[in-house]
């Protein structure tokens, strides 16, 4: 689990991707939050199976902590955000680098040596090297606190008509 700061280093000139998280516990000056799946999934009949249901093992694994500057309480919903450029870079790093290395090494082996066995071995080697690079870059990103969500604002309680106040509020 990660501990993180509470504001963007250069919030003024960044687009922020927002998400909603629920305060799970308050531990001294820290609060633990669990992300809530609101936009892509979690509402369908299969959510129990795929792990997108609130409180599921997968969401528990993604809990994170924040410094509690805003007197957050258990059960409160807050909007947290990550810089969109960071999200893009993280996606490209996590998936793009291993895939590219895998393909380049595989195609090169196929052209130079020939045969499916050599291509498969080179592809797997490229994948392993790529994952190693991802690990290194991920450590660098996280050391700068870029990969962890930051508190943006509280989610207002639902109105009397049950209207939803979420990311656009």
């Amino acid at each position: 689990m990660t501990q993180l700061g509470d504001s963007f280093p250069d919030a003024g000139d960044r687009e922020v991707t927002e998400g909603i998280a629920r305060v799970i516990s308050v531990d001294g000056t820290m609060v633990w939050l669990e992300p809530e799946q609101t936009t892509a999934c979690g509402g369908c009949a299969s959510s129990k199976v795929c792990g997108a249901e609130p409180g599921s093992r997968r969401l528990v694994a993604r809990r994170f902590s924040l410094v509690n500057h805003d007197d957050l309480r258990v059960g409160e919903h807050v909007v947290v955000g990550v810089s969109s450029s960071t999200l893009l870079r993280a996606s490209m790093t996590a998936y793009g680098v291993p895939l590219l290395l895998m393909l380049v090494s595989g195609v090169t082996a196929q052209k130079l040596i020939g045969g499916d066995g050599a291509a498969a071995a080179a592809t797997l080697a490229g994948l392993v090297v790529g994952l190693g690079l991802v690990r290194l870059w991920s450590m660098r990103f996280s050391a700068r606190g870029e990969l962890t969500p930051h508190f943006i604002r509280r989610v207002p309680a639902p109105g009397p008509d049950g209207a939803c106040h979420g990311l656009d509020g």
């Binding site: 936009t39 993604r62 893009l88 993280a90 998936y95 291993p98 291509a119």
Partner: protein, 193 residues
Amino acid sequence: MKDVILLIVSAALVNNVILARFLGLCSFMGVTTRVDTALGMGAACTFVITLSAMGDWAVEQYLLVPYGLGYLRTVAFILIIASAVQLNEAIFRKFSPHLFKLLGIYLPLITTNCAVLGVCLLLVEGKYGFMDSTVFAFASSLGYSLVMVLFAGLRERVALADVPRIFAGPPIGFITASLLALAFMGFSGMSAN
């Protein structure tokens, strides 16, 4: 090298998984309300489809074909896709927990994406070698990601437009998708030339 580039263009644009083969339409409509969500899903799908294709090729060549077990193909491929998703999740959780926290939610969704199984079954039809299979799967999923991001961008713009009430929501989404499909039909001319 020319054959690899042709394979990539053909799989990503001419025979696009979503707009030409009509696979993965559930995620196409469901996960494209925001560009960042579509991008995350596309990237995760690209990774899983490529890995699954490698596993499926090996199972097809060394198990299903030699032992005449072709009737188990769909079941075997689904098992490999589910395993690839679990493996990815485990690898990312172990190797880069921070990235897992940021991106991990899209992984379980992929298991139920028919585009993944569709691409793997198309590989069998195409009778490709190992590297061609891997490149084809990568290019197909790249085409999938491209369309997801394009469509999400269009939907974000349409959401700000003054759409007549009767067309608001999914109807305008379907109309936009059909226009995008028409635009992609232009690429089919490339195969004729």
